[in-house]
């Protein structure tokens, strides 16, 4: 009868990966490694449709050949991982380690988890209208609790540094974790025998091997968005220094960085007087806000006012595309080597609306109203354009548009936006009189207005709905909560259906379809 107590059990490994992350290559390496070092290896996977971007699990079991020979029998190895039965979990992405956790594959008695800390966002995280990124901290917390050992570092970064792929880094970390009974050279030989991308894989393996040995799990993502510490302006910028002093003297300390950022942005956007205007608009509301001693209201107001005042128009876009530092940024983004030449083609689609927005107010309105002028223009602008700011023609075109900024205050768009800003600020004032919570909601509603073209139109419609809601029930005791709920609803779907449902009994007066002249392609 079998002696079931002392029997040797196989080493079990689960690789959690997404299609295209090289989980198959990693699995092949491990099989080769085991088979070349006196182990029997069994590996399975379920590629199926999961090979296309979906999550995939590769499962391996390794068993010493000598042990099998001694018994004169072949081991019976499982074809899929079971909770409580997995020694090593390799995760090529952080939330995939979470998936191993969810499946119960991580247990304190035996599981070593080796995970890359980088994130590859899922489609629902990416397609959210606002911020849909899930918090990895609960996963990290539970991995720390449930895993026997937990090795975590940014393997994507290591792969990138070494010009290799994440499978090589995982393999290095596996070697560095010393959880398999094979020496480092055996791992490296498996890579060599694989014969593809050997030198880059070995480099990645080497770095990762070291990292795995001194990798402590992250405490928390260390580098959060570093709010630009107000860099001291250069001496010659006397006006900037004065503005800075003004901010420091008039605004409470916690609000200053945001106000300063706002001022810089508006100078960049228009000019110093425009930034002063911003400060004045803010200061006008200081009294009302300070009464509540709530800095978050003032900070949010400073932030949203700056954003609104620097609304994206054609002038702004053209300006950003021809700035000196732009090309360097693109080169960095596309990882161009110094000896490579980079040209960009900017995908722009100025429609008749954007053109009119940039015209003087009266003229712009007239064109929008006058069908025989607008229609041919609309036809001419039906197709998008590709403009290259690194070629003279494109550069000069963008330069011309950017130069219109000295007339920006006369444009139709400026006029419209200014009216909206004033109306919004008036609403903010009224809300401040009610409560800081309601005011905060009115201020934050501005965040719904973003983007260009249809996106902007949709955002504006949502914003208008929320403002209308404020006018209707702003004084109700639960107004802040209801406004917050409406703001979330506005970001729930593109068609605004959730928002329509949420407003309930009353229908907002401005519906998106009402503005017929602004629909790009008419219904046929």
């Amino acid at each position: 009868m079998p002696d079931v107590t002392t029997a040797k059990r196989p080493i079990t490994l689960a690789i959690m990966a997404m299609g295209g992350q090289g989980g198959g290559v990693l699995s092949d390496w491990i099989v080769h490694l085991a088979e070349s070092n006196g182990y029997l290896a069994q590996a399975t996977s379920v590629p199926g449709v999961a090979q296309r971007t979906g999550a995939t699990i590769y499962y391996l079991e390794l068993f010493p050949e000598a042990e099998a020979e001694r018994a004169g029998q072949a081991p019976v190895l499982a074809l899929m991982p079971s909770p409580g039965d997995v020694d090593i979990v390799l995760a090529a992405e952080f939330m995939e380690a979470g998936r191993a956790l969810e499946r119960g594959l991580v247990t304190p008695d035996r599981t070593t988890v080796i995970a890359s800390s980088h994130r590859v966002y899922g489609i629902t995280e990416k397609s959210a209208m606002g911020n849909g990124i899930l918090d990895p901290e609960p996963v990290r917390e539970q991995l720390r609790q449930h895993a026997q050992h937990f090795i975590e570092f940014d393997m994507e970064a290591t792969a990138h540094r070494q010009g290799s792929v994440i499978s090589a880094v995982l393999f290095g970390a596996l070697a560095g974790s010393h959880t398999l009974p094979f020496p480092r050279e055996a791992f490296e030989n498996a890579i060599r025998d694989g014969g593809i991308g050997v030198s880059a894989s070995l480099r990645a393996f080497d770095e990762s091997y070291q990292q795995a040995q001194d990798a402590e799990p992250h405490s928390a993502p260390s580098d959060t968005t570093s709010v630009n510490e107000a860099t001291p302006p250069k001496a010659e910028l006397a006006e900037l220094v004065a503005l800075k002093a003004e901010i420091d003297s008039r605004f409470p300390e916690p609000v200053r960085p945001v106000v300063h950022e706002g001022v810089l942005r508006l100078i960049h956007y228009q000019d110093i007087p425009y930034a002063r205007e911003y400060l004045e608009l803010l200061q006008l509301r200081m009294a009302g806000i300070q009464a509540h001693l709530d800095h978050s209201v003032l900070r949010e107001l400073a932030r949203h006012l700056a954003l609104w005042m620097s609304y994206e128009d054609t002038i702004r876009v053209a300006d950003l595309k021809i700035r000196c530092d732009r090309l360097a940024r693109v080169r960095n983004e596309v990882k161009a080597e110094p000896d490579q030449i980079v040209y960009t083609a900017e995908y722009m689609h100025p429609r008749v609306e954007e053109i009119c927005d940039t015209l003087p107010t009266g003229l712009g309105r007239w064109v929008m109203r006058t069908g025989w002028v607008r229609r041919p223009l609309a036809r001419m602008t039906q197709r998008g354009r590709r403009i290259s700011p690194q070629r003279l023609r494109g550069f000069l075109l963008l330069l011309t548009v950017a130069s219109l900024r000295r007339w920006r205050r006369k444009t139709l768009r400026y006029c419209d936006e200014r009216q909206r800003i004033i109306a919004w600020l008036a609403a903010v004032d009224r809300a401040l009189a009610i409560s800081p919570e309601v005011a905060l909601e009115v201020i934050k509603a501005q965040g719904l207005v973003k983007g260009y073209g249809d996106t902007h139109r949709r955002g504006l419609a949502s914003f208008t709905t929320v403002m209308e809601a404020f006018e209707r029930f702003g004084e109700a005791p639960d107004a802040a909560a209801r406004l917050h709920q409406l703001r979330d609803a506005a970001l729930a779907d593109e068609k605004g259906e959730t928002l329509q449902r949420s407003v309930g009994e009353w229908k907002p007066e401005t519906s998106m379809a009402a503005d017929d002249s602004r629909i790009a392609v008419k219904q046929i």
Partner: protein, 718 residues
Amino acid sequence: MAERTFVEEVKKLRLGEGETFQGEGILAVTKALLQSGVAYVGGYQGAPISHLMDVLHDAQHILEELGVHFENNASEAAAAAMLAASVNYPLRGAVAWKSTVGTNVASDALANLASGGVTGGALIIVGEDYGDGSSIMQERTHAFAMKSQIWLLDPRPNLPSIVKAVEKGFELSEASHTPVMLELRIRACHVHGRFQTQANRSPSFTIDDALANPVRDTSRIVLPPASFQHEHEKVNTRWPAAVNFIKEHGLNETFPGDHADIGLILQGGLYNTVIRGLERLGLADTFGNSRIPLHVLNVTYPLVNDELEAFCSDKRAVLMIEEGQPDYLEQALASILRRADIDTRLHGKDVLPKAGEYNGQVMLKGLRGFLAAVAPTLLPQPEALPTPDEQAPTLPPRPPGFCTGCPERPIFTAMKLVERELGPRHVSCDIGCHLFSILPPFNIGNTTMGYGLGASAASAFHGSKGGRAISVMGDGGFWHNGLTNGVANAVYNGDDDVLLIVDNFYSAATGGQDLPSSRAENPIRRTNIPIEQAVKGVGVKWIRVIDHTYDVQRMKATLTEALTTREKGPKVIIAQSECMLNLQRREKPKVRQALKEGKRTVRQRFGVDSDTCTGDHSCIRISGCPSLSIRPNPDPLREHPVAHVDNTCVGCGLCGEAAHAAVLCPSFYRADVISHPNRWDRLLHRWRQGIIQRLQAWREKRLAPLPPSAHLSGETHA
């Protein structure tokens, strides 16, 4: 050319007597076929069988040497019909497909084949796509075996057992004049293991021999009165012959155990999971030595009554471990025991779930349940299960989707934009990569009724006076049966709907196999047969061919035209662009080589300007490209993450085109990166930059000078 090349692995097919084969299960099956002296092979691709078809394709020279004919059948029905060669002649033939979908398609031919019976061994290898990772409806092939009386093998999932099943399968088929199915579960197909090989055998009787001496026997043709005779033959002659063969050759296995008063009866394919379960309960060792007796059904149809009676007669209770539903085996066993008047208690789906895959956890729980009921003293102390007191963290769902740069994505981007303008439509989907349209971010599509049946599934809407329905079909489905069932049918019935045929040059979803309309020259197949001509040939008048699917505007305009034109009859749009996986696989090495040689090359990829992106993610909602992602907003005043194109971008151009077509935003740019620029490139660049930089310097001097700001200088944060 298939997604994976097996040129290296194919060498293993040459292994001779007593050598050790190491590799994938499906490759072992191929080797076993050659060892069995098979005369012809065929089938239709589809996971987990695709690799078998690819291996055979790459092994053409070996097959030729042995005199084995290999056919890429047009469908599973065609493959099953090919087995007709074994009806009159002592030819061994094997075909393979994904089941149950393929078996559904093949069942007409299979039923005819099974009725008349076979002379030569006929083996059908079915990849049972059931359970975790499956892409099809959850059904059992078992039902087909029962209804047509085809014998069903379900061997233990290790390479020696699988190889033996192939060899014995042919013998069983010949001994009982009945086709035999070999069922391999998805993991068994992909399992890496080893077995001792034998030398390959040329068929003793070849297809040439058959054609030189044609045999005709009307008693084998399914037509009265022979068809009535066939039914009697099946139950009175062939069935007993099969049972005898199974007994004589010990195809089923019984393993003893010291707790002899109880026992487990299981499908062979579940053996490893059962052993692991017992091992974890302390009732077996790693080598499969169990303390509870096991009866392993490597043949699950027909059952051998004597063997089951013998196994059960001295037992208080047995557990029938049978995956899937209905519980055919359990019912059969109950009836066997009842008739033999054996009062062994029968457990099965009372302790195991009625539906769903029996994975390790489920099996463990089922075994515990059985033991708790019949022998609680054998149970170890229950393991301390992880306390489920904490809330499971939220994880992002990862549905499969279109690959980076997929040419099918822009088709659905265009459809989504048309939907915004003309309102939602009924969309009838097909089988293929394009079915990913039903998932986020596109959420387009109402039903899918089977391979090549996208158009047929919209037939009921032919009579509508209202808006037109849209059906989608891939090139794979088109050649599988869509040309007749879909297109010709639509013409004949006066359909007024829109049919979109996605032509990506391959049967892409199954691994990039060639098709009649593939553009590549295939050394052993004839390709380059245009879909357009076939469609014209069956009488479609309104045809539009879009030879570059990435042109979203054109795609959108064509769809709009098809939906709104006054012309009657089916509107067929053929959208063509090569599958990006295949394109990259071919082109990437060339580019790498050119770079190595210092040749001028231009790499295109896309990017998003984070300072003009406002974080609305409209672009993602109409594209869903894996390389189009998000990252924290570098702008300190903004909160929502910005869009971002990572370095896996292949420069297909969809995001730019979509930004144009949907009038999204001016944030997208295409970067042309010129490596090893020539002298003219460098000169022109220097000249352009000279002027532009001077103008920039002049301009920025006049603007208010500012300290560098993080987000404006493009330093991104983690």
